[in-house]
């Protein structure tokens, strides 16, 4: 049985400042309406591409989207920033209406675009549980019934009669998520809300959400940039790109496609992955990034990059150079490696290391060049990348420190 079906949904947004020209546009729209004509501003509109300057003030954040979701599925909605993920969630959770199209749903929808919506700082934890629960659509009876469970899940029992403005941010999120986690609904919509909170609690939340889909047969729609979490929670996926559904398939396929699209393939094996990264000169066989120390790729682990390829040309020299860029397209570093000073064809394996305590938490990708004869580019790709995870700071929280690099700063302290 289907839990949800979207038919041709589109959402148009107006760019720039709403205000200047609003009245004239409204009047023009009204004038078309009374003559029985179509809204003139619906015909125009660019696809939502941030980087290029469009010709119109209106953009389609979502354009003619169709999909169906089976009941009990956990669907990961992925895509780059601006692909339309949040807009889709907003439409599904009825926060705003689609410009065109219809969405059919079956059963109660609970949406969690943010934890702690409507929390009032002056009210106590207890009062806020009731307020937030009511905002999310629970009745007082339901909340009373689940109250102990919620408090227990949140782990802030001691502070339950203290105004939440005295809570630490962690406690605040715990309490807020606890309320949301106990919502009873057939369809649960979750935006990337788990970015805050400590690792233990994040795990607990993911676990709770996992229970929701696997145990209780609920349908979950989950938006996240955290591919590990998406992979763990979801069984199917929808990949959005520039307001359109690129593919709807199993979550694995969606993630691979997403990484290909965003230039972040963190591992590749020609034998297993059914796409080739090659041209007539160079063909990539394998690519992997592993931590030098430990088993998680993070700020302190360093990264060992291994790339295997086949060179199909003979040249006088063969080298591999790369620019390393972060998610903000900042070139963090660049270097060149001489692969062969004789330039023979055949298979090569190149391993290089990016030292620990260098890169800050972020997503990175390589712009790689295979150069021959010290002048010509034989092959160029931006397909590969990796993700550096954060580490706990001295307070035990995983919060990204600002900055491109994250070196160890030596300090000497003396009390004078």
């Amino acid at each position: 049985m289907l839990a949800l079906k979207a038919e041709n949904i589109s959402k148009q947004y107006r760019l720039g400042q709403v205000g200047t020209g609003t009245l004239t546009h409204d009047l023009n729209r009204f004038w078309h309406q009374i003559r029985g004509k179509e809204n003139p501003y619906l015909k125009i509109g660019d696809t939502n591409d941030r980087s290029s300057k469009g010709s119109s003030d209106y953009v389609w954040s979502l354009h003619d989207i169709d999909f169906e979701i089976e009941q009990g599925d956990a669907v990961g909605i992925i895509g780059r920033n601006g692909a339309g993920k949040s807009t889709l969630l907003k439409l599904l959770s009825k926060v705003t209406k689609p410009t065109k199209g219809k969405i059919y749903t079956n059963g109660r929808i609970a949406s969690l675009l943010e934890v702690g919506t409507g929390f009032h700082p002056e009210m106590t934890g207890r009062e806020n549980i009731f307020l937030n629960g009511a905002i999310l659509g629970m009745t007082k009876k339901e909340i009373t019934r689940k109250f102990d469970e919620i408090v227990d899940f949140s782990g802030v029992e001691r502070y339950i009669d203290t105004p939440v403005k005295r809570y630490s941010s962690g406690m605040y999120v715990r309490l807020a998520f606890a309320v949301a986690a106990h919502l009873e609904s057939e369809i649960l919509i979750v935006d990337e809300v788990l970015a805050v909170g400590d690792a233990e609690f994040q795990k607990k939340c993911l676990g709770k959400m996992g229970d929701v889909t696997k145990g209780e047969g609920r349908t979950v729609l989950f938006v996240s940039h955290n591919m590990a979490a998406v992979n763990e929670l979801c069984n199917t996926g929808i990949l959005l790109d520039q307001g359109k559904v690129l593919i709807q398939d199993s979550i694995d396929k969606c993630i691979i496609e997403y990484q290909k699209k965003s230039g972040h393939i963190s591992s590749y094996d020609k034998l297993n992955d059914n796409f080739a990264i090659e041209n007539k000169n160079i063909s990539i066989n394998k690519y992997s990034v592993t931590p030098i120390e430990g088993n998680v790729l993070n700020v302190t682990s360093g990264a060992r990059v291994k790339i295997e390829f086949t060179s199909k040309i003979k040249a006088s020299t063969l080298d591999l150079s790369f620019y390393l860029r972060n998610s903000h397209e900042v070139t963090v570093m660049s270097t060149g490696i001489m692969v062969s000073s004789t330039g023979d064809d055949g298979e090569y394996s190149v391993v290089f290391e990016i030292p620990a305590n260098t890169l800050n938490e972020d997503g990175y990708y390589f712009e790689m060049f295979w150069g021959i004869n010290r002048s010509d580019v034989a092959f160029k790709t931006e397909a590969f990348g990796f993700e550096i995870n954060g580490i706990r700071n001295q307070f035990g929280e995983i919060i990204k420190s600002p900055g491109v690099i994250f070196p160890i700063i030596k300090s000497t302290i003396k009390k004078l």
């Binding site: 705003t96 059919y104 929808i109 943010e114 919506t117 905002i135 007082k140 105004p163």
Partner: protein, 283 residues
Amino acid sequence: MNEQKWSNVIESKHSLFRLNLKEVWQYRDLVLMFVKRDFISSFKQTILGPLWFFINPILTTIVFTLVFGNIANLPTDGIPPILFYLAGNTLWGYFSTTMLSVSNVFAGNAGIFGKVYFPRLVTPISTIISSFMRLSIQLVLFFIVLGYYIYLGEVQPNYWAFFSPVLIIFLALFSLGLGMIFSSLTTKYRDLSLLLGFGVSLFMWFTPVILPTSLVKQKLGSYGYLADLNPLTPIFECFKFGFIGSGDFNMTRLLISFTFIIIVLFFGIVVFNKSEKSFIDTV
């Protein structure tokens, strides 16, 4: 092609008059929680707490009595000035605070509205109830003062006093209707919110809060009918007539005013419903 039954359809268009009161009823607990929130947030960390409900009208009435009664020597239709200003103030306070806070519903709750769906009508309704609680406390004060003057024999209430709940309901509906219109318009045109605070205080002078209708009419001369155009005037006059036994009260005008209020309310609902669906894109 749709063999399956769907419990809900989200689409771009919906009826302007569909109020969805059933859904609001399902969210009745939320209405109460919002009322509680308003109450708690106004008096947290104050020493006097809800006593401020009293202090406010007392101080205003004293100032009005001194300035307009004693210094400016404005007539009060033969009613003891304190009672005249207190009655006007209590009603006006209810109207203006309700109207202003309802008109702020979209702008003030954008954070919540942008993140979660519930029938938006819940917010104005809870606003009306919160200010109604405040009004009831202030009415207690009014009745105490009224009792004192009845004891002195200076005023004589009549049966119209029992009509006052109806008056208050229409006052609430009027502030709701106007507030909804303004709240919907201010989502796009912020100019209105600036104009509104100003407009409300100006409007007070056309309502018999400080100036009795008789005086306004007398001063306006042949334009005296303008005073009757204000739908609040008959309500205020009827209220004073019932409790204090004087005032320029006329049944026809009251009925016209009620009709006007219903029309405003209707219009408010339409505009509110229309902007509710996508205000979050423009706010």
